[in-house]
Symmetry: C2
Subunit: 464 residues, 2 copies
C-alpha cells in the first residue's frame, strides 16, 4: 500500500500535503493511470490519519482531475498524458519595446504630454478623500455603459458654457482614453467602412483604425486645410480630423471648408470625427466653434480628452454622439462596462462642477503662454534665430521650426539625439513620403520645464 | 459703413462683442459673401474704438473662418453656405437602455457583482492618500503599454504564490476590464480567427468577439466539461473557457480534459483563453491549478480581474500572455496607452505588495461562505426545500436551483419579477435553444445582503 512520510510537511493542512504527495506520484507515473487507490479506511489506518483527512485529500484530487471515482468500487488515478513541464524562458527585457518610462533626454521636444507639475494635486486629493469618506455607496454602484451620469452632466454643462455645444448627458460616452473610444466607434460605425486620417498627422490614429480591422486611407493636408475633392478620391466614409488645430501642422479648417465637409458627410452614410484634443490649451483668441455645433445633419462625432488638460496618466476621454448614433450605441454596445473607475469619474465630475477645471485651464494657459514666449525669445536670440525660422502656426502646445543647415534633416536629428535633445522632423509625420517639406522640425514645449527648453535650444544652436 | 451699438454688450471684451456682431451679420446674410469690410482705421474711427480692438475682432473672425484677407486689399466676408441651425431634439431618456444604475429589486439573484460593503475603504484611502502626497512624480509618468511595471511585478508575485504560475511582469498586460482586454486580444490574434465560447455561458463574451469583428461559435458544454470532438466541429482557432469554474453551470474541467484541450491547441495556430474570473472566491478546497501553469506549448492566455475581488466599479483586469504573444504584443500593439489610471495602478500594487489583498480575499471568502450556508439553510427550510432542489455545483458565488412547479419557467420568472425578485432561468444562458434543462434557475448571492436573500427566498416560496 502507498506510504508517505510526513516529515517534510510544512504549515499546510495534512490533507493538502497528502494530496500533493499523491499528485506527484501520479504525475511521475509511480501511480499508473487507472491504478486503484487504497480505500479511505485502509489508507487512513496505514498512515495513522483520520478517514476525514483521506477523504479531503481524495476530494481535492477529484476536483483537480488527478483521480476519478467509480461507484461502489473506489478511487482510481486519472490518465495524465504528459509530465508537467514548466517553460522557463521568460521574455528578456531587451526584446521589448516599452513605451513610456523614465526620461532619458536633456530636452525632449517630441512629447506632447502635458507638464506634470501643473496637476492640481491638493484639490484632487481633497475631492477624492471626500468621495471616499462620504459617498461610498455611489462609488460602488455600477454606472451605465456611457459612464457615471453626474459626470456626463458636468461635461454637458462644461460643453454648453465653453464650447457652445448643446448636448444631453446621454450623448456623452466616457472611456479610458481616446484610443479606446476610437475602437468602440469602429464597432459602432462598422468595419466595412473606410476611415480617412490626415497626412501628415498623428501616426497613432491610423494605426488604431487598422488595428481594429478597418480600412484606413491617408488624406493629404493642403494649404488651407482639407480638400473635399481629395477626400472624395480616398473613397472614405468616415473622416477623422482636428479642425481647430491640426497636429503637427497647427493649421485650422476655415468655416467655409467646414461647411464643405458637413455637406460631404450629409451625402450618404458618412461621418466626421472631430478630435478636439487640445482646444482648451489655445493661448490666443477664443476657441473656434466646433464642427459638432454647426452640424445640422447629425453627422459629427465630437471627441475630447482630459489626458491633455489634466494628466496623461489619468485615462479619461469622452465622445459626444449625434442623436441617431446614441440610439445605435445603446442598442448595440451598452453591454460594455464603462472602462473608467467610478472613483475618478466622481472626482473629476466634482472638479468640473465646482469650477476647479476652469481655474485649472486658466492657470495652464497662462503658464504655457509664458513658456511659449520665453522659448520663442530664447530661439530668436540664439543662432537658431539667424539660421532658422519659427513658422507661423496657430497657438497650440507646439510650433514648427525651420532650420537652414547644410547638415540635412537626418544628420541634424541624429546629432541632436546624441547630445540628449530629441527633435522630430515634420517629414516623420507623413505616411506618404515625397511631397513633405524638409528641414522643418516639430517642437513640442508642453512637458518640458523652461530650463530644459533653454538647454535644448542651446545644444541645437551649437549644432547648426 | 457698418455700425453697431454697444449697449447690449456684456462683461466680455469689446473685440469679442464686436466679432460676435459681425459674425451674426455674416451668418444672417446682412454682410454678403465676398463683401469687403471697412478698413481697420476707418471702422475704428466710425465706432469710436481703438484700431487694436478692430484688429483683434478681425483676427478672431479670420481664425474662425468668417473672414478672409487679401493682401494689400483688406478683409472680406467668407462664403457661409447655410445658416447655422442647431438641432434641438435631445434623445429622450425613455429610449435608452441604461445598464447599471440604482437598485430596483427587493432581491436581485441575477447580478454576479460583489458585495459593495466588503470594499476595503480605509486601507484603500490611506494608500491612495499616501501615493498622492509622497509619490507624485511616478503618478505623472506615462507607463508602458502593458501598465505600471511595479504593479505588474506585484501581480507576478501574487500569481507565483497563490496560483503557482511562474510569469514575468512583461507577460502581464493591464487593462480597463476584461472586456477591453478581449478586444485587444482579437486585434492580437486576428480577426480572421474563429472564436469559440461555451453554450451555456456568459452572453457578453460572445457579444464582445462578434462586436470586435471576429467570428464566434458556440460550443455545447457536456456533462464532464468540454468535448474536443465537438470543439473540432466548430472549426474554432481560439477557445474561451473558465476551466476552474464554468458560469453558470459551476462545473470544472478535469485534468485529463485539460490535457486534451492543450493537445488540441498544440496542433496548429490555436489558442486557449483561460478566463479565471472567480478563482479567488472559491470557498471550498484549494483553487485548481491553471491551464496556463501546465501549458508547455505557449498556447494559453490567462485572464483575471480585480472587478470580482475588489470592486466592479474599479475597472482593473489583466491578462498573462505566453512568450510568443508577448513579442507580438509589443511589436504590434505597444502604441496603445494603458487604459487604467496610474493612481489606481499604484494603489492596487501596494495593496497587493503589502499583503492587504490576501487578507481581503480571506475576509471575502469567510463572508461568502457564511452567506452561502445561511442561504442554503433558508432555502431548505422554506417550501423551496420541498418543491425544489439545490443542484450540486462547485462552490462559487452562485448555485443552481431546480424548482418543481406546474407554473413553468417563464411564468414563475415573471411572477417573481413582479414581486421584486429577479431570477434568471438557466435556459437564458443558452445561445442554441433546444437541449437546455428547464425549471432551473441561476442564483447569484454575492451582491445581496443576507436580509435581502431571506426576503427573496420567502417571496419565491410563496409563488411555487
Amino acid at each position: 500500500m502507498l506510504t508517505y512520510s510526513f516529515e517534510e510537511k510544512g504549515p499546510e493542512p495534512l490533507y493538502v500535503y497528502l494530496a500533493h504527495c499523491i499528485k506527484n506520484d501520479i504525475i511521475s507515473g509511480t501511480i499508473r493511470p487507472g491504478e486503484k487507490l487504497p480505500s479511505k479506511r485502509a489508507f487512513a489506518k496505514n498512515l495513522g490519519l483520520s478517514v476525514i483527512t483521506i477523504e479531503n485529500a481524495y476530494g481535492q484530487l477529484l476536483d483537480e482531475g488527478y483521480l476519478y471515482s467509480v461507484e461502489k468500487s473506489g478511487y482510481f488515478a486519472a490518465d495524465v498524458k504528459e509530465n508537467i513541464r514548466k517553460k522557463k524562458t521568460p521574455v528578456g527585457e531587451e526584446n521589448l519595446v516599452l513605451t513610456g518610462g523614465r526620461r532619458q533626454y536633456i530636452c525632449d521636444f517630441s512629447s506632447n504630454a502635458i507638464e506634470p507639475s501643473l496637476f492640481p494635486f491638493s484639490v484632487w486629493s481633497r475631492l477624492l478623500r471626500d468621495e471616499l469618506s462620504k459617498d461610498r455607496d455611489r462609488l460602488m454602484e455600477t454606472p451605465p455603459a456611457g459612464g457615471v451620469y453626474y459626470f456626463r452632466e458636468a461635461i454637458a454643462s462644461y460643453l454648453r458654457e465653453f464650447r457652445n455645444m448643446d448636448v444631453t448627458p446621454q450623448q456623452i460616452i466616457i472611456g479610458g482614453g481616446t484610443e479606446y473610444l476610437l475602437g468602440l466607434l469602429v464597432q459602432l460605425l462598422g468595419f466595412q467602412k473606410t476611415y480617412a486620417v490626415t497626412d501628415p498627422g498623428f501616426e497613432k490614429i491610423g494605426k488604431i483604425y487598422e488595428s481594429c480591422g478597418a480600412v484606413c486611407r491617408f488624406l493629404p493636408v493642403e494649404e488651407g486645410g482639407i480638400s473635399v475633392s481629395a477626400l472624395l478620391k480616398t473613397g472614405a466614409d468616415v473622416l477623422h480630423i482636428s479642425p481647430s488645430h491640426h497636429y503637427p501642422l497647427g493649421s485650422r479648417i476655415s468655416l467655409s471648408r467646414r461647411y464643405e465637409l458637413l455637406s460631404w458627410a450629409a451625402e450618404g452614410d458618412r461621418f466626421l470625427i472631430e478630435d478636439d484634443y487640445d482646444s482648451e490649451m489655445r493661448t490666443e483668441g477664443r476657441p473656434l466653434p466646433t464642427l459638432f455645433s454647426i452640424d445640422a445633419g447629425s453627422r459629427v462625432i465630437y471627441m475630447n480628452t482630459f489626458t491633455k488638460t489634466l494628466a496623461s496618466t489619468i485615462r479619461i476621454s469622452y465622445m459626444v454622439l449625434p442623436e441617431p448614433l446614441v440610439r445605435l450605441f445603446y442598442d448595440r454596445l451598452s453591454f460594455y462596462a464603462c472602462t473608467v473607475s467610478n472613483f475618478e469619474q466622481y472626482t473629476l465630475a466634482r472638479f468640473l462642477d465646482e469650477g476647479y477645471f476652469e481655474k485649472h485651464l486658466n492657470r495652464c494657459r497662462t503658464y504655457y503662454k509664458k513658456k511659449r514666449e520665453a522659448l520663442e525669445e530664447v530661439i530668436l536670440k540664439s543662432r537658431l534665430g539667424k539660421k532658422g525660422e519659427l513658422l507661423k502656426t496657430e497657438a497650440g502646445l507646439h510650433f514648427l521650426l525651420k532650420i537652414y543647415s547644410k547638415k540635412g534633416e537626418e544628420r541634424l536629428t541624429a546629432e541632436a539625439l546624441e547630445k540628449g535633445v530629441k527633435i522630430v522632423p515634420l517629414s516623420a509625420f507623413y505616411h506618404c513620403k515625397g511631397d513633405e517639406e524638409e528641414n522643418v522640425w516639430v517642437l513640442n514645449y508642453s512637458c518640458e520645464k523652461e530650463e530644459a527648453l533653454r538647454k535644448g535650444v542651446e545644444i541645437l544652436s551649437n549644432l547648426v
